[in-house]
Amino acid sequence: MPDAPNAQPFRPVSFLLGWVFPGLGHIVAGNVRRGLYAMAGVLLLFVTGIAVGGIDCVDRNEDRLWFIGQAGSGPIAFAASYANDGLLKSGSAAPMVEMPSSQRGGKVTVSAFKSIAHANDFGTLLVFLAGLMNICVMLDAGVREPSSDAPVSGRRVGERKAGAA
């Protein structure tokens, strides 16, 4: 509906700021409370995932498909992946141990802090969900009217007043 009276142009800066840090696109555009709520939601998922699975559940090399979604969280996902490389895979945070490998038919050397089973499954999934939800938040930041948290306005393209036919 490009001709709708309340149509808003797409704002790429707000969209990109939403990727730099969750909720930042809304905050910079003046929708501070909305941005803080969005930030809280995305970070709750991200931090819970990291707490449950450890930073090993964000791995841009071994879990590339998962990481594509996780990268929606922005630089914090890349930071977690680099921390995984620097602290766990390098062996600086915990000793390296041998582990059976089904793919190579032998053994592989991994960090003693490597997450497996339920911890890795749910940690990876929660961080992935954080990335997907942040993409939704970024898209909303790109189309939402700036400083529109006031009760009367604050509608996006296509939204109508409450009670309108």
């Binding site: 969005a38 939800m133 939704c136």
Partner: protein, 93 residues
Amino acid sequence: MSALAALAEVAPGILAWKPILQPAPGVEKWWWLLVIPTAVGVALAYKSTRTREIALLPRDVLWMSVQIVLAMVGIAVFLYLLVIVLLPRLPVE
């Protein structure tokens, strides 16, 4: 006494846990509780983009979280009845 025994069983793992670096201890025993932070996080992020009146957002988040958790419990009950109760009763050729 049993609660104390359970706490004593988990306590050494919690005390030795290094958050962020190491997976949380005993996840295989309480993984199902993760549905609560998952539901709240998804509801919070989603409703922050969909709620028109920002003042109503906490109420909307609470209601959506409850809906998600109830839906997951309902699906779990349905699958339990299907797999554990119904399917074993089917005749085997």
